[in-house]
């Protein structure tokens, strides 16, 4: 490896290029100063992999996690590109073709109680079902992180009020609280998402708060305060990067739960309204035919189950990938 002159903007070799074993050549009988100079010349340092690169590398090594992620990506793209995947209209059925079993000619997964193509309804239903998983989790993560990080960093009266409010919400069972909020807001897909968002804010705020408290006692926070940095800057540059992984891992596990709660609300008639397909609502409407066409009834439930399991598996893999010693 060529000796590289030290400059203000050194060209660093990457980890792969850097030859860690390269011997430092010095003449025999070199003085300590000469040895030191030679070491200095040869010491290039190596590019460290940024945290997220390393996380990605470790995640890819986890087969179950990758499989779950691929499944979720396929599901998401099928929901997004639904019109290109299925020709049939999910809202209009043929009255004479009701409750056809799966693998019927022309209807791969059969038809529902109104003669609507089951495959189309499942694919289109994924749109709303996945949205009810992602959207409330994303909003709750954002709001909960803001609340938790602020409360954990500032503490004091504002922090106490925020966290005790969270505790009050947390005292209710999640599904019960969602039903109560959903019922008071009125039925509808949007309202059920709002309900799930509110249900998820307290647990995320708690995780964010406890993670922030652990960070808040570290000396690097004092050092950043000593630099004259304002609160928002400290939260953004010092606190958030150190609490983000804990929050992300927890939130990724909530997506599946959000879908379950939303499906439950739909099942109770508080979620999406007919005839819009949604897995929870489909499960409800097919409930009456469970004895005459059990295979059909199982299908939306199976979708909910598989998606939820996939989210949990991916979340576990993410947690394992992020679980590295950094301090």
């Amino acid at each position: 490896m060529a000796v590289q002159a030290f400059s203000a903007q050194p060209v660093k070799p990457t980890r792969e290029e850097h030859d860690m074993t390269a011997a430092i050549s010095v003449p025999d009988g070199a003085t300590v100063e000469e040895l030191r100079a030679a070491w200095w010349e040869a010491d290039h340092g190596a590019d460290a992999r940024p945290f997220w690169t390393e996380v990605g590398r470790r995640f890819v090594a986890n087969k179950a996690g990758v499989a779950a992620l691929v499944f979720l990506l396929l599901l998401t793209s099928s929901a997004v590109f639904a019109p290109w995947i299925v020709r049939a209209d999910p809202l209009v059925g043929v009255a004479t073709d009701r409750l056809l079993p799966p693998f019927s000619p022309g209807h791969l997964l059969g038809t529902d109680e109104q003669g609507r193509e089951m495959l189309a309804r499942l694919v289109y239903g994924g749109r709303l079902s996945l949205a009810t998983g992602f959207v409330p989790t994303a909003f709750a993560t954002f709001i909960g992180t803001c609340i938790g990080v602020w409360a954990g960093y500032k503490r004091g009266i504002s922090g106490t009020i925020l966290m005790r409010t969270m505790d009050m919400l947390y005292a209710f069972p999640a599904i019960l609280l969602a039903i109560a909020i959903g019922a008071s807001l009125g039925a509808g897909a949007l309202n059920s998402m709002i309900a799930v968002t509110i249900v998820f804010i307290p647990p995320i705020a708690r995780i964010a708060e406890s993670a922030t408290r652990q960070v808040a006692i570290q000396e690097y926070l004092e050092a950043s305060r000593l630099s004259g940095a304002g609160t928002l800057r400290i939260l953004r540059t010092q606190v958030l990067p150190n609490v983000a992984n804990q929050i992300l891992v927890y939130a990724s596990g909530l997506v599946g739960v959000a879908m379950l709660i939303a499906a439950g609300l739909s099942f109770l008639g508080l979620g999406s309204q007919p005839p819009t397909p949604e897995w929870g609502y489909m499960l409800n409407s097919l409930r009456d035919t469970i004895y005459s066409a059990p295979l059909l009834t199982v299908l939306p439930g199976l979708m909910i189950f598989l998606t939820s399991v996939a989210f949990n598996t991916a979340s576990d893999a993410l947690r394992e990938a992020m679980d590295m010693r950094l301090a």
């Binding site: 030290f6 203000a8 903007q9 050194p10 660093k12 200095w40 010491d43 290039h44 340092g45 190596a46 590019d47 460290a48 945290f51 570290q218 000396e219 690097y220 004092e222 050092a223 950043s224 305060r225 000593l226 630099s227 004259g228 940095a229 800057r233 540059t237 010092q238 990067p241 150190n242 010693r325 950094l326 301090a327």
Partner: protein, 337 residues
Amino acid sequence: MNARRPVLLDLRDLSKSFTARVGLRSAKVSAVDGVSLALRQGGTLGVVGESGCGKSTLARLVVGLIAPDAGEVVFDGTRMPAGQKRPRRVVRDMQMVFQDPHSALNPRATIGEAVGFPLRVQGTPRREVSERVDEVLTQVGLHGNYRSYYPHQLSGGQRQRVNIARALALRPKLVVLDESVSALDKSIQAQILDLLRTLQDTYDLTYLFISHDLNVVEYMSDEVAVMYLGHVVETCSAHDLYRRPLHPYTKVLLASIPKIDPRQRSTERNLASGEIPSPIDPPSGCRFRTRCPFATDHCSAVRPEPVEVEPGHWVACHLYPSPGTVVEPPRRLDATY
């Protein structure tokens, strides 16, 4: 040696107590009580004492991480506002190197980001930040290429070098070193201490050097202040302190240094009996009186004020009365040790 240079840092009667919960009641913990110290530009003031004597609180009071209950910090002729943000100039002029090299660096920030952070906060343009980071890393003995490393890839000594680089990035006048070498191995300690001395010359730095390690303080300091339970009990030049300690506590402290020569080992085992008392509800008057072999009733009634016993040698002890009082200091003190 720095007698002619102006006073950079002047602490006047600084006090700080914290509220702690004892069972259901809350109690006042007096961490620093009526501390007055002065530090000349270019000099090093060592602060020694047992753990829990208020050294770290003093450091944080000086740099403004916590606000004093009473007293004031005068830096470079300017009185620091208590409990408010300090002016930018002062932020740049006063920095601190922390004790724990592991927790003092953000694990998610590269070395370059960590050292450049104070510069960025103070609004230095990106290009200059990059140049300054390389320059200061080189000065602390780290290759500029280390800027892309993360803290967990460095050893304890390297991290402490990074901490020093971060403190120096803004070219401060005063650097508070709070137990900055205590967490390091002896061999690394020596390297870092030498580095600190070199940097003191390069930057004309003034150090407030806080440590519980008496040998290290002797090596680094021009003057030394001895703290006991939030009080400063003795202040003098480093040379005098180690050869002619006057306060009974200082004598105990120095006697606790292990001697290499067995003939010099102290045969007196119990110079001061007992543990350091709790800073919750500390002893009245002289705080050392509960462990002091020479304590009298007078010691519990009146807090001793610092007295200049010899030129430049201040002691806060009733054994050394202020000039004008007739009481002789007991001779047996010197005879005992």
